[in-house]
C-alpha cells in the first residue's frame, strides 16, 4: 500500500515525538513511524535529568562553556549556543505540558548537581526524568491527534531526484510492506547500543537511522565518539544514573579510597564521563577493582534521599543484583552508553540531503563533540527535535507531493523475500551479533590502538561476509521478528564500520576516543570533524573533514 503525508518522522522517542508535535503545530500532515509503541522508546530509560541555565546566578554561557569543555572542544560552539540559549524556554514548555518536575521550597523548579557542570542546573523527576518527559509528550501527541504507525519497521529511505521522499516500511502485525511517501523525513530513531556488549541500551537500539541515512547519502560525523558511562551495574550492565553521584554518592576502589581525587581533584565523582570512566578502568587495570568493578557507595545519603530521589536504581540493584544500596555499596563499571556522533545536521536538523532531517541521538549537530555531559541528551532531543520538526514542516510547505516509488517497493519486497529464502547454513543472527558486539567492546571501546582497530576492521569485513549467510529463522508473515533482527544486524554492521574507520582516522585522543598510540589531544591537526560518506557496498566510504566551529571559547587544557 502507498500512503502520503507531508512529514514522516522515523522514531517515537523524545526527539521524534517532539519533531512530530512541532510539525503538526506548523500545520503539516505529519505521521510517526516507529518499530515499537512510542512509550517503549529508549528515552524512557534516561534517569537523571535535563540541563538548563534557569536559576539565578546561572547563565547560558556557563552551561555552554561546560558543554564545550565536556566535549573536549569538539562540539560546534554555534550549535551549543543555540541549545543552551533555548534550554530554559523548552524546559518551561514541558513544565506547562505537565511534567511533574521537582520543586524547591518556594514552589519553583529545583535542581540537582550533575557531572561536568559548574552549577547545579539539572532539572528532574526522581530518577525517571526521561520517562516523565516521554509519557507527557506522548499524551500531547494523543491530544494533537498525530498519526502513529506503531510497530512499523523502516527498511529503506525513498530517494527521488536526490531528495528524500519517504520510506519503505514493514508492518509487523501483517507482514505487509508499505511505501510511505512524504515531502520531508525526520530520522529520530535513537542510538546504536546493541553494537556493543554489554551496553546500557535497550534491545531496540540498533542504529537503524544511522544506516538508513548513510545509505541514502547523508554523511556520518565523528562516529568514533562512543561514550562509556561510568556507572553501569555489574553483570547486567543496566544504567545506574549519574544522579546518584549528583546527590553525593562516592566511587570507591577495593582499598575503600575515593580514587577520583587522583584523577579529578576538584570535581571528584562529578568529573565528565570520559574522565571518570577512564579513571575506573585504570583502577581496575592496576588491581584495585573488585571482580572487574569499582563500588558506587550511596549509604551516607540515607534511606530517605535514596527512596525519594533514586527509587528506580534502588529497585534495579535489588532486583538484578540482590543488593540494597541503602546498606551496601553497588558494584559498577564503565559500560557503553551513548553515541555522540551521527548523521551530520545543521542547527535546524537539516542534513545535506534535500528533505532529510535528523534529531536526537542519531543526529550529530554537533553539541556533544567528543563527550556528552550527563543530562544534555534529553535537552538535545527536545531542542533539536522541535527545530527539525519546524524546519521539515517549512520545507514541506514549499515542496510538491512526492510521486512514484513503486520501484522501491518492489525491490524492497524482493530483498526481504531473498532474505526469507536464504537457506540455513548454521550462521545465526544472535550469534553473529554477539560476536560483533563483544569485538566492538574489546577493540573499539574505552581504549583503542592502531593494531586493535585494524583487527577490528578485518573482523568487521569477515562479519559482513558471514552476514550474507545468516538465515531468517522464521518464514512467517505475522510479527516476524527474526526478519527484523536480521535487518537490524545489517544496520549495526554499517554503524560498526563507520565507528572503526573514524577511530582509525582520528590520530589523537579526545573525549571518548582514547587512542593509546596517540595519547594526547592534538588541536593543531584534529580540531576538526570527520565525515564518512557511503559510496556503495564493497567500497570504502569517502572521508572528508570540516573544521570545528569556534565562537568564543578557545580550546584549553581540560582538567576537572
Amino acid at each position: 500500500m502507498i500512503r502520503d503525508h507531508d512529514v514522516i518522522v522515523l522514531g517515537a522517542g523524545l526527539a521524534g515525538m517532539r519533531a512530530a508535535l512541532e510539525a503538526a503545530r506548523c500545520g503539516a500532515d505529519v505521521a510517526i513511524v516507529t518499530k515499537v509503541h512510542p512509550i517503549r522508546s529508549h528515552s524512557s530509560a534516561a534517569q537523571g535529568g535535563i540541563n538548563a541555565a534557569i536559576g539565578e546566578g546561572d547563565s547560558w554561557e556557563s552551561h555552554a562553556f561546560d558543554t564545550i569543555k565536556g566535549s573536549d572542544y569538539l562540539a560546534d560552539q554555534d550549535a551549543v549556543e543555540v541549545m543552551c540559549q533555548e534550554a530554559p524556554g523548552d524546559i518551561i514548555e514541558f513544565e506547562h505540558m505537565g511534567v511533574i518536575f521537582y520543586r524547591g521550597p518556594d514552589g519553583r523548579l529545583g535542581t540537582r548537581a550533575f557531572g561536568g557542570a559548574s552549577q547545579a542546573r539539572t532539572y528532574f523527576v526522581g530518577d525517571i526524568t526521561g520517562q516523565a518527559l516521554l509519557v507527557t509528550l506522548y499524551d500531547q501527541i494523543l491530544k494533537a491527534g498525530v498519526k502513529v504507525y506503531e510497530e512499523w519497521f523502516a527498511t529503506k529511505l525513498f530517494m527521488d531526484g536526490g531528495a528524500c521522499r519517504g520510506m519503505a516500511v514493514l508492518e509487523m502485525v501483517t507482514g505487509e510492506l508499505h511505501l510511505l511517501r512524504a515531502k520531508a523525513v525526520v530520522v529520530a530513531s535513537g542510538g546504536l547500543g546493541r553494537l556493543y556488549e554489554p551496553s546500557t541500551n535497550a534491545l531496540i537500539c540498533t542504529g537503524d537511522g544511522y544506516s538508513l541515512a548513510y545509505r541514502a547519502g547523508a554523511p556520518l560525523m565523528d562516529m568514533a565518539m562512543v561514550q562509556y558511562h561510568p556507572t553501569t551495574l555489574a553483570g547486567s550492565g543496566f544504567l545506574m544514573t549519574e544522579a546518584a553521584r549528583g546527590e553525593g554518592a562516592y566511587l570507591l576502589n577495593s582499598l575503600g579510597e575515593r580514587f577520583m581525587k587522583k584523577y579529578a581533584p576538584n570535581k571528584m565523582e562529578l568529573a565528565a564521563r570520559d574522565v571518570t570512566s577512564r579513571a575506573e578502568a585504570t583502577e581496575i587495570a592496576e588491581g584495585r577493582g573488585i571482580d572487574g568493578n569499582v563500588l558506587l557507595d550511596l549509604r551516607h545519603l540515607g534511606a530517605d534521599v535514596i527512596l525519594k530521589k533514586l527509587p528506580q536504581i534502588h529497585e534495579m540493584a535489588l532486583d538484578y543484583l540482590g543488593i540494597d544500596m541503602i546498606k551496601e555499596p553497588v558494584p559498577v563499571r564503565p559500560g557503553m552508553h551513548y553515541q555522540m556522533g551521527g548523521v551530520k545536521t545543521d542547527v535546524e536538523g537539516a542534513t545535506i540531503i534535500a528533505g532529510l532531517y535528523a534529531a536526537g541521538e542519531v543526529a550529530c549537530v554537533s553539541v556533544h563533540g567528543g563527550n556528552r555531559l550527563g543530562a544534555n541528551s534529553l535537552l538535545d532531543t527536545i531542542i533539536f527535535g522541535r527545530r527539525s520538526g519546524r524546519a521539515s514542516a517549512g520545507y514541506a510547505k514549499g515542496t510538491p507531493a512526492s510521486t512514484g516509488g513503486e520501484e522501491l517497493l518492489r525491490s524492497e519486497q524482493q530483498r526481504l523475500q531473498a532474505l526469507l529464502d536464504r537457506p540455513y547454513t548454521g550462521e545465526t543472527c544472535a550469534g553473529l551479533r554477539l560476536e560483533l558486539a563483544t569485538m566492538m567492546d574489546q577493540k573499539v571501546g574505552l581504549y583503542r590502538s592502531d593494531v586493535g582497530l585494524h583487527e577490528a576492521l578485518e573482523k568487521l569485513d569477515e562479519y559482513r561476509r558471514r552476514y550474507e549467510n545468516v538465515a531468517v529463522g522464521d518464514k512467517g508473515r505475522v510479527f516476524n521478528q527474526a526478519l527484523t533482527f536480521v535487518l537490524e544486524l545489517g544496520f549495526l554492521l554499517d554503524c560498526g564500520e563507520t565507528i572503526i574507520r573514524d577511530a582509525i582516522i582520528r590520530k589523537e585522543s579526545r573525549g571518548a576516543h582514547t587512542h593509546i598510540d596517540y595519547p594526547e589531544r592534538n588541536d593543531t591537526d584534529w580540531l576538526k570533524h570527520t565525515l564518512l560518506t557511503h559510496r556503495g557496498d564493497g567500497r570504502e566510504p569517502e572521508v572528508s573533514h570540516v573544521p570545528v566551529t569556534i565562537t568564543r571559547w578557545k580550546p584549553e587544557v581540560r582538567t576537572y
Binding site: V36, H37, I39, R40, S44, Y102, K475, F485
Partner: protein
C-alpha cells in the same frame, strides 16, 4: 541451572525448521492458523535469571520464530507484560526460580487480550482506555509566561510520581476482574492516569473529569479485587488511585449514580444496624425511584432466591451498635 519453560504458542504454521525448504513469500495470515498450544523448552541460565532471559535465549538459540516484545530488560519500557503461571507479570522482573512451580514455568499471552502471535498480544484495548480519560494537562489559566513555571508545592508533584511511574505494561488490565466481564470498564491503568491529571494542581478540568469518571464504566465499576495492586510491577497501586477519585467525585457532588448510592446504602446500613442489609442494598444502589432499573434487577433477585441466597427478611441490629455509630461520628464526612 536448568529451567523448564512452557510457552504458549500461537500461529503454529511458522515453526522454525532449519532444514525446511523455504515456503511461499508469506504464509497465510494468522487468523487462519490453528489455535494455541504449549511448547516446552529447556534453558540453562544462572539461578538469578529472569523469565525474559529464558525467552531471549529460546528466541536467539532454539527457536527464532518465537515472538515476544521486549526492549529495556530492566522494568522501564513496559514491553514484556504477559501471563506467567496464570497471572500478569513483567517477564524481565520475574525470577525464574521464584516462578518455577512443579518444575516448570508457564508463559503465555494473557487470555484477556486479543492475541497476535505467541507472546505478543494486541494492546489496543489498553491504549483505547488510556486515550479515553483524556490523559493530558488542560492548563489552568492563566498559564504562566513562557519563562515561568507554575508555582506549586513539591509535595503535590511528588504525590504524582506514583502514577507517572506507570510504564503501561498492561499487567493491571490483563488481570482486572471487572475488565474480564465488562470490556467497557476503563480499567486500572487508565483510571490511575485519570487521577494523575485530576490530582495535578495545574489542571483546570478537575470537575469535568470527575463527572466523566463517575459514569458507567468509570470509577464505580471497580470491584476492589486488588489484582491491579498485586500485579503492578512499579507500585502504581491503581486501586488506591481509584479510591481517591471516588472520594473526590463524591465531594464534588457527583452522587447521582449507582456507585455512590451503593456506597451510601452500604454505609447507612452499617451505621443503622451494624451489619449489611443485603435486602435493601441492590434496590437502593439502583435508585428507589428508578422503576425500569428495579425491574431489570428482578431476574438476579429471582436467581438468588432459587439458589437459596435470599438474605434474611428480618434485619437485626447487632449489640453495641452505639460504638459503631461513634466510629462514624469520629470519621465524620457524609455519614456523620
Amino acid at each position: 541451572m536448568q529451567f523448564t519453560i512452557e510457552v504458549g504458542r500461537y500461529n503454529t504454521e511458522n515453526q522454525y525448521d532449519p532444514n525446511a525448504v523455504p515456503g511461499p513469500p508469506f504464509p497465510p495470515p494468522w487468523d487462519s492458523s490453528p489455535a494455541r498450544r504449549y511448547q516446552t523448552f529447556s534453558v540453562d541460565l544462572p539461578e538469578h535469571a529472569v523469565v525474559l532471559d529464558a525467552l531471549i535465549q529460546i528466541r536467539e538459540y532454539q527457536d527464532p520464530s518465537l515472538a515476544v516484545r521486549c526492549a529495556c530488560r530492566s522494568a522501564i519500557c513496559g514491553s514484556c507484560g504477559m501471563w506467567i503461571n496464570g497471572h500478569a507479570n513483567l517477564a524481565c522482573k520475574s525470577k525464574l526460580a521464584e516462578f518455577t512451580v512443579d518444575g516448570k514455568t508457564r508463559v503465555e499471552s494473557p487470555p484477556s487480550m486479543p492475541i497476535i502471535r505467541d507472546l505478543v498480544c494486541d494492546m489496543k484495548p489498553f491504549w483505547d482506555k488510556h486515550l479515553a480519560v483524556r490523559p493530558w494537562l488542560e492548563n489552568k489559566q492563566p498559564v504562566p509566561p513562557s519563562n515561568q513555571e507554575y508555582r506549586v508545592p513539591n509535595a503535590s508533584m511528588e504525590e504524582l510520581i506514583q502514577e507517572v511511574s506507570c510504564i503501561s505494561c498492561g499487567a493491571c488490565l490483563m488481570d482486572c476482574e471487572s475488565f474480564a466481564v465488562n470490556p467497557d470498564f476503563l480499567g486500572p491503568q487508565a483510571l490511575a492516569q485519570a487521577y494523575r491529571y485530576v490530582g495535578d494542581p495545574r489542571d483546570a478540568h478537575t470537575h469535568e473529569r470527575l463527572g466523566e469518571l463517575s459514569k458507567p464504566g468509570g470509577i464505580w465499576d471497580c470491584t476492589h479485587c486488588f489484582e491491579c495492586v498485586q500485579q503492578c510491577p512499579k507500585g502504581v497501586a491503581p486501586l488506591d488511585q481509584i479510591l481517591k477519585l471516588r472520594k473526590l467525585a463524591v465531594d464534588a457532588g457527583y452522587t447521582n449514580n449507582p456507585g455512590t448510592r451503593h456506597a451510601d446504602a452500604f454505609a447507612e446500613s452499617v451505621k443503622h444496624s451494624g451489619r449489611l442489609n443485603e435486602l435493601t442494598l441492590l434496590p437502593k444502589s439502583v435508585g428507589l425511584f428508578n422503576i425500569i432499573g428495579q425491574l431489570q434487577t428482578l431476574p438476579s433477585a429471582i436467581n438468588m432466591v432459587r439458589a437459596g441466597k435470599l438474605p434474611p427478611l428480618i434485619h437485626k441490629t447487632i449489640p453495641g451498635i452505639e460504638r459503631i455509630r461513634k466510629i462514624f461520628q469520629r470519621v465524620g464526612g457524609r455519614f456523620k
